[in-house]
């Protein structure tokens, strides 16, 4: 499906106006002017909406190719912003499902034997199938027009996804209440995660539980965030302590649960978290058999597999760690901004569709994505 004759149409197909928007966004990604996976996901979807409304195509496969190209250029612009690739793959999956249905309905009418294949849980949750339309297999002749309005399908898919992303915290908070007990000590090493913040605040306010939160300092990149995070929690009458990163091991025996925010969740159940040092915290927790909860919206789920962790971790500036020195005589500094946590160190993922074991994550991933879209780059596919 990837080798279509129409692929070259992409740049000309959309009007230049959309191209301007796309390239502005690419430039912004490159300059790291859009921060946070939530913002990136939403902006990507808005962009995709404009792109699809302006796109011209002869066949739905052409449209899919165009979207893949777009996704590829966005991923290249900021390789560690996984959420923009994720949402594009989600929309691709929606389109491909629709195509599959159409093809199937054609075959059903012509042969009337084939049984609708339920490939996954996702299909079970899909909205009821549209009435079958009697027509020929569209891939056979180009003259035939598909009656399904793919533009409409895609845009509806985008709108649904935007709603989902915006309401993700609600879903997670529902589960939060049951997880936190009274007088429990929690530790979070990801103070920049808004999901974690809301999760804790809801637990405090809705169920009126009293608990203590330890926040790691997150030196050097997140110290400021940690302080703000602690302040916000304190304002909601949650007992909060900011602890040095180095004290985590000593404190772990007292901690009841570790809660981490995520930036991306891979199919193997590993995660990229948005603060360095999270990996060692999870390692400590494992040592003490303390449960580690990872909170993640569904859009953070990525169909990629972390074969080369180094490629997925982002490296920040050196200036935060050491003062400037003679480049010929200085120490080499490496400042990881994000950190990879392997699946064995995470006990459960709390998503907006429920809690899952890391080993089950692949299943949810294939409910939402298509294998064929894992690599948007044509050279790798």
């Amino acid at each position: 499906m990837s080798s279509q004759a129409f692929t070259s149409v992409h740049p000309n197909a959309a009007t230049s106006d959309v191209n301007v928007t796309i390239d502005t966004f690419v430039a912004k990604l490159k300059r790291r002017q859009v921060q946070g996976s939530y913002a990136i996901a939403l902006e990507t979807l808005q962009l995709l909406m404009r792109f699809i409304s302006a796109a011209r195509w002869n066949h739905v496969n052409d449209l899919i190719e165009q979207i893949r190209d777009l996704g590829n250029s966005l991923e290249k612009a900021h390789p560690t912003a996984f959420s923009c690739g994720n949402v594009i793959r989600r929309i691709l999956a929606v389109l491909r499902d629709e195509v599959e249905e159409d093809t199937m309905s054609t075959t059903v009418t012509s042969t009337s034997v084939a049984e609708p294949l339920i490939s996954s849980m996702f299909n079970l949750l899909q909205k009821p199938e549209q009435p079958h339309q009697n027509r020929k297999n569209s891939s056979g002749s180009s003259g035939m027009k598909t009656k399904t309005d793919y533009r409409q399908v895609a845009i509806q898919g985008i709108k649904d996804l935007i709603d989902e992303i915006k309401n993700i915290d609600e879903g997670i908070q529902q589960i939060a209440i049951d997880l936190i007990h009274d007088h429990e000590i929690l530790l979070t090493p990801t103070p920049d995660s808004k999901t974690v913040l809301k999760f804790l605040i809801t637990a405090r306010e809705r169920s009126n539980r009293t608990f203590t939160v330890l926040v790691t300092e997150g030196f050097p990149n997140n110290t400021k965030n940690a302080h703000e995070f602690a302040k916000k929690l304190a304002q909601h009458n949650i007992e909060t302590l900011v602890v040095p990163d180095s004290a985590v091991f000593a404190l772990m025996s007292r901690v009841g649960k570790v809660i981490i925010g995520t930036k991306a969740v891979f199919v193997n159940g590993g995660t990229i978290s948005s603060n360095s040092g999270v990996s060692s915290v999870c390692e400590c927790a494992r040592e003490f058999r303390t449960p580690v909860f990872a909170v993640a919206g569904l859009y953070k789920l990525s169909p990629l597999y972390p074969f080369d962790v180094e490629k997925f971790v982002e490296f920040g500036g050196s200036q935060r760690i050491l003062p400037r020195m003679d480049p010929r005589k200085r120490l080499d500094t490496v400042n990881q901004i994000t950190d990879y946590v392997p699946p064995e160190n995470i006990d459960i993922y709390i998503t907006n569709v429920g809690g899952f074991n890391p080993s089950f994550i692949y299943r949810i991933a294939w409910d939402n994505y298509k294998q064929i879209d894992v690599h948007l780059d044509k050279n790798k596919a």
Binding site: V20, A27, R31, P79, G317, S318, T333, V334
Partner: protein, 712 residues
């Protein structure tokens, strides 16, 4: 001074931005692509400095990237040397595409010789509508510009006389990152208003210096700090007054030495300049040493989020690996080669077996052979390096070819298209260019001028002893050394890439060292360096100037213009012909003496009265033609010389009266007279002239002693 128009509008660049934005709010930026310096010779003979690659990205990109992030809406690129190259580059770059974050316009200003000229040109064009960023085209920074702008606006509200904000970054204790043009800033501690600015001598001179601050400047200042640890990264936010001030002060040339110092120590202007201090990374690539340091800093991610793997250019494909290794796609590495820390490799490059690379930048499509050692070096695009070579702390520009077994020692600079034969061993700090550039510091090539210089320099032979029999390359000597054979070690070590500690102190030649000397010297060197295309013509012009200048002064005297008008005319003439104050003084004095001669010849007045009349009225001109001791001494020498030339009846009386009248009008001070007298020429043909002056000077000295003894 109106340059040719090279304006290029980008299509529908600012979609939707124009409509809801006041013209006032549109942030403009002026980028000075030319540094008016020659530190990067011989490479800048081929390419302008701002297009030289740092970590395989042309320098200008970093500046533009900074402006894009700063949210600038309109950028003016001022191009002087190699203007066409810059214009072509910008036209084909992403900044000229419809989705560019700002509208970019190149302004050709080939006549500009200094920042002052550019500012005057800007004022003439009237394109500046409000506050604007003035930045040089070689800045690398990750400062948060919004904070600086906020500071600027805050200070603007507090202080109506505030006209400009300089961005100064705190340097480390480590000297190499410091600017090559050291300076002391005296700042008001509470408001960080710049009270005083002074250039410091280069560390190389090992001079101890003091700064003198006029006590009046410290009025109303509670507490002040004197700092010389600030890197001046040449990012300024200026109000629209700044070009006007340059316009009013014809003699302002550089932004710091003339403008900042002039403005803040001037009572008449009463304007203030503030400094914004930051800890963030902000530097200028202004010499080989800073180039070296900044490259390493950039690869070591000290300028994050501006890093190589954010691929700011569209065709870049860098990815990051730990230990700060950056590789583009399609790099071919042999199995046994070793890539060490802090290294960037461009696409299409092939690296052979057993080669070791560390702390280096390698461009695109390079062919690096086997068993080569590359350390701390910079290799630009399309280079070929033969087997078993050793390259240590050197720079190889694009398209250069090195044979096998070549050894480049510390600090070598190999120019564009140079070929070096097998088995050559290059001494430290050798600089080689592919075309002959004899004493090249004094001229920069431009397309038009190439031919005539080639003829001039045909006699210069290939440096066979260095590049080998099959090599192509000429030794480049910086302007300091006059003779190639006798070039001393010291001369060679000037302005190098070298990292030897001793040499740090012998850091630089070129203009900045000339700046330290007298004004006269500086303007002369500016003249000689930048008159590239008009080298031949300039001799005519010098003569022309003398005639024109004399005519101007005579006209002024006959029509009884006021002083200011005369000065303005002279200055305009000086600027347009690009001559120094020395010439101006000669012209003025000649004209004055002719006038005196005329009076005496027509017997209107006696010799003494004539001199007094003329010099009392017009001597004040010199106040704006000479600015320091040496120039006054020069002035007096000229007077003496011209009096002899004019062959008066009583030359001694004329000189005496002229000097007395200048002295009485407070134009020349006693000290200067003594100094002049001590060093005055002993040529016998001046003996007659000096007769009366001898007595006068003696009298002056006696009077001085008496008065001082009386005081006691």
């Amino acid at each position: 001074m109106a340059g040719k128009k090279g304006q290029k509008k980008s299509g529908q660049g600012n979609h939707g931005k124009n409509s809801d934005m006041d013209v006032e709010d549109r942030l403009q930026a002026v980028v000075l692509t030319d540094s008016y310096e020659t530190r990067f010779m011989p490479l800048t003979a081929v390419k302008p400095r701002c297009l030289l690659p740092l970590a395989n990205v042309p320098l200008i990109e970093y500046t533009l990237e900074f402006l894009a992030k700063a949210g600038v809406h309109e950028v003016f690129l001022i191009c002087s040397s190699h203007a066409n190259q810059i214009n072509d580059y910008i036209e084909n770059s992403k900044w000229n595409l419809p989705w560019s974050p700002f509208k970019i316009t190149t302004i050709m200003s080939p006549e500009a010789r200094c920042t002052g000229d550019v500012m005057r040109d800007l004022d003439n064009r009237g394109i500046i509508t409000g506050d604007f960023i003035l930045v040089s085209g070689d800045v690398l920074t990750n400062i948060d510009f919004s904070k600086m702008l906020e500071f600027h606006k805050k200070m603007h509200l507090q202080d109506k006389d505030h006209i400009s904000t300089m961005c100064l970054s705190k340097a480390s204790t480590y000297p190499k990152t410091r600017t090559i043009e050291p300076a002391a800033f005296v700042l008001d501690k509470s408001t960080s208003r710049c009270i005083y600015y002074q250039d410091l001598p280069l560390p190389s001179s090992r001079e101890k210096t003091s700064i003198q601050i006029d006590p009046e400047l410290l009025d109303n200042v509670d507490e002040f700090v004197i700092r010389n640890d600030l890197i001046d990264c040449r990012i300024d936010i200026c109000t629209s007054h700044v070009p006007l001030i340059f316009q009013e002060n014809f003699d302002y040339q550089s932004l710091r030495t003339d403008f900042v110092k002039g403005v803040i120590s001037s009572d008449i202007l009463g304007k203030h300049i503030y400094a914004y201090l930051t800890d963030e990374y902000a530097v200028r690539v202004e010499s080989w040493q800073t180039y070296d340091t900044i490259s390493q800093d950039f690869l070591g991610r000290w300028c994050y989020p501006l890093v190589l793997d954010s691929n700011i250019q569209d065709d870049q494909t860098y990815s990051y690996e730990s230990r700060h290794i950056y590789k583009e796609k399609d790099v071919v590495l042999a199995q046994s080669c070793k890539i060490g820390k802090c290294t960037a490799i461009g696409s299409g490059t092939k690296i052979g077996e057993g080669t070791k690379i560390e702390n280096s930048v390698i461009g695109r499509n390079c062919q690096i052979g086997e068993n080569i050692r590359i350390k701390n070096s910079f290799i630009w695009d399309d280079c070929i390096i033969g087997n078993n070579s050793i390259i240590d702390h050197s720079l190889i520009a694009s398209n250069a070819t090195l044979g096998s077994n070549v050894r480049l020692n510390d600090g070598c600079i190999i120019g564009f298209n140079v070929k070096i034969d097998d088995n050559m061993d290059l001494d430290r700090n050798t600089k080689i260019s592919a075309s002959p550039l004899k004493n090249a510091g004094s001229r920069m090539y431009d397309n038009e001028s190439n031919e005539q210089f080639d003829q001039d320099l045909d006699d210069q032979t290939l440096a066979v002893s260095i590049v080998g029999d099959k090599g192509v390359g000429y030794i480049y000597e910086s302007e300091v050394s006059d003779d190639e054979d006798s070039s001393t070690e010291a001369c060679k070590e000037i302005n190098t890439l070298s990292n030897q500690l001793d040499e740090l102190y012998l850091s630089d030649d070129s203009i900045s060292s000339a700046t330290k000397k007298t004004k006269k010297r500086r303007t002369m060197s500016v003249n000689s360096i930048y008159t590239d295309r008009e080298e031949i013509d300039s001799e005519f012009e010098d003569e022309d100037f003398e005639k024109e200048g004399i005519a101007t002064v005579e006209r002024a005297m006959e029509n009884n213009h006021d002083l200011d008008t005369a000065l303005l005319e002279l200055n305009t003439l000086r600027m347009s012909m690009n001559v120094t104050y020395h010439e101006v003084r000669i012209a003025t004095i000649t004209a004055l003496l002719r006038r005196v001669y005329h009076f005496i010849a027509t017997q209107t007045l006696g010799p003494k009265d004539a001199v007094v009349k003329v010099f009392n009225q017009w001597g004040l001109l010199f106040k704006r033609q000479a600015f320091d001791e040496e120039e006054y001494i020069d002035l007096m020498n000229i007077i003496m010389e011209k009096i002899v030339e004019q062959s008066f009846d009583k030359p001694d009386l004329i000189l005496f009266s002229a000097l007395v009248s200048l002295y009485d009008n407070d134009i020349i001070e006693e000290d200067v007279i003594y100094k002049w007298w001590d060093n005055v020429s002993t040529d016998p043909r001046y003996d007659e002239v000096k007769k009366l002056t001898v007595k006068w000077v003696e009298w002056l000295q006696n009077a001085d002693e008496e008065s001082s003894s009386e005081e006691e």
